[in-house]
């Protein structure tokens, strides 16, 4: 098992804030909008340096999405910022018609996704957003795994022409990816090469997959770990190549097992290479109040759950 270490913990939303600031410096057409959550989205640096390119919309997310769609007409590249719940479910029809169907170059940037939002509880903990967004034709869906990857992804989507959903979160987690990485949309990152089982993880679950990989190594199981940061378009080649070698797969996501990364992988494997698969994901449930760690544990999203799923799926291999 390749060794990953970290010297600091940061939140992915701060990676977004830093990436937005960099994107703003590189391209004067980058503009930002927020629905009364500037501090939570870490947009302060962008606003300080480019006040005229920032629009405070107030608590009016539907209006924000429509305004962003309109701002593309004339060449701007709008980044909208609010919580994941209010970035997707609340404004689904606005995104569907004014952004996706109209093919507008809007970047929907969503913080506080998943259970790790914590104490605010289920009203704010969306576990359905990946499904909602990946269903929209033409929508790119990205869920980066740490501060550095989120920053790189934010800068990369500014250079991509078309609608993007970028999902990140609130908690501070290990920073373990390369600070100078080049983020390639739709290209998986090989975290660890192995032979016994493929673990595919996205977002906050990637570090947990690394922890699981270390525990599996102690048990004599050689896990291949792949980071799928781009859920759509899916890096099918990377997944098929790995699964051909290992013969089984565990998918890990901080999302409902209905509609998430796991289902995208299952669709691919069912049609191309039928393979035993286990899902580490929430099981058709809403969340609740609690600390992020408590919630990840209660809802089965810890390293130990990945270890168990890996052992189980290896046992299902013919």
């Amino acid at each position: 098992m390749k060794k990953y270490t970290y010297t600091e913990k940061k939140d992915t939303r701060s990676g977004f804030g830093a990436g937005l600031h960099e994107a703003g410096k590189k391209n004067e057409n980058v503009v930002a909008l927020c629905a009364d959550l500037v501090g939570s989205l870490k947009m302060d640096a962008f606003i300080k340096d480019f006040p005229e390119r920032f629009t405070q919309v107030g608590i009016a997310e539907a209006n924000m999405i429509g305004i962003a769609a309109g701002m593309t007409i004339g060449g701007k590249i709008p980044f909208t910022g609010t919580f994941a719940n209010f970035s997707t479910g609340r404004v689904y029809d606005q995104i569907r018609q004014s952004v996706a169907y109209s093919n507008k170059n809007v970047k929907i940037c969503a913080s506080h996704a998943g259970l790790t939002l914590g104490e605010d509880g289920a009203t704010h903990q969306i576990l359905e957003d990946i499904g909602l967004m990946k269903m929209l034709p033409g929508m790119v869906v990205i869920n980066p795994c740490d501060y550095n990857q989120t920053k790189a992804a934010t800068m990369a989507i500014a250079e991509y022409e078309g609608p993007v959903y970028l999902r990140f979160g609130r908690p501070v987690i290990p920073v373990f990816t390369d600070p100078d990485q080049k983020f390639e949309i739709g290209k998986a990152w090989m975290v660890n090469e192995g032979t016994d089982v493929t673990i595919i993880a996205t977002g906050h679950m990637v570090w947990k997959a690394i922890e699981a990989g270390e525990k599996l190594a102690e048990l004599g199981i050689d896990a291949e770990i792949i980071n799928i940061h781009t859920i759509k378009p899916l890096d099918e080649e990377a997944i098929l190549t790995s699964v051909k070698k290992t013969g089984c797969v565990v998918t890990c996501e901080e999302h409902n097992k209905f509609g998430g990364l796991g289902e995208s992988v299952a669709r691919l494997l069912t049609t191309e290479l039928p393979t035993p698969q286990e899902f580490v994901a929430t099981n058709d449930t809403f969340g609740e109040s609690g600390t992020p760690d408590q919630l990840m544990s209660k809802y089965g999203l810890d390293a130990v759950n990945i270890v168990e799923a890996a052992q189980k799926v290896i046992g299902r291999k013919k």
Binding site: M64, I67, A69, M71, I73, G74, Q97, Y101
Partner: protein
Amino acid sequence: MKHTIKELEDIASQIRRDIVRMVHGCQSGHPGGSLGCADFFTALYFEVLNHNKDFSMDGIGEDLFFLSNGHISPVWYSTLAHAGYFDKSELATFRKLDSRLQGHPTTHEHLPGIRVASGSLGQGMSVAIGAALTKRLNGDHSYVFTLHGDGELQEGQNWEAAMFAPFHELDRLICSVDYNGQQIDGPTKKVLSLDSLQDKFEAFGWHVINTDGNDMQSIVEGLHYAKTLTGKGKPILNLMSTQMGAGVDYMMGSHKWHGTAPNDEQLATALAQLPETLGDY
């Protein structure tokens, strides 16, 4: 004036012919609101709007128009064709398979003149605001026009947008409301009363004007007057009284022709009331 009032009325008559023929041709679509707004579209595209029929999505240096109540697509398609955006023969494909003239307007099939999809109601004002913000950032002093149904204003997103535009002093934004008092299930007064739109928008900080949307002189003068009001910190709302079905006597004044196509006999009756002026498609 680029045209006389009589010339504009003749264009509107041709557009009305197109509308009833398009809706008859596919036996679906929305003739009532389309007919009611034929004079507005004629005034806008042939007299008021600074636009380029060689369409570019970004519309730099041009006035922009957004149709929020996308179901009245027939009137927009006919207007765009006669304004030179595409050949009028394409009007015959309306709502048919493989057409660029979808039931509701969309950019998806790349029809020149359309900058965003509409149909799901209540989204157009927000999009127009975004376009106006970009024009401001680009130092482009062109105008942004919109049209909304009156029933459509029951959608809450409009009021988010209505609050935003005056606060941000978007004073080159000119929104018109097709104030015909009708919606699918009946008169707006019975379905969900809009009460005084004038009072509502003025309370939100708009400059409100009133026009007769089925009187060419009134609508042309009204839109020109609206332009003179810009630059004073307030967006403009044109409350435009119209008759649903205007120009076809048996369709007028009733919500029943909101989304119903005429049969052969009804088509003939309608066409007899609308002189052909620019030539049918």
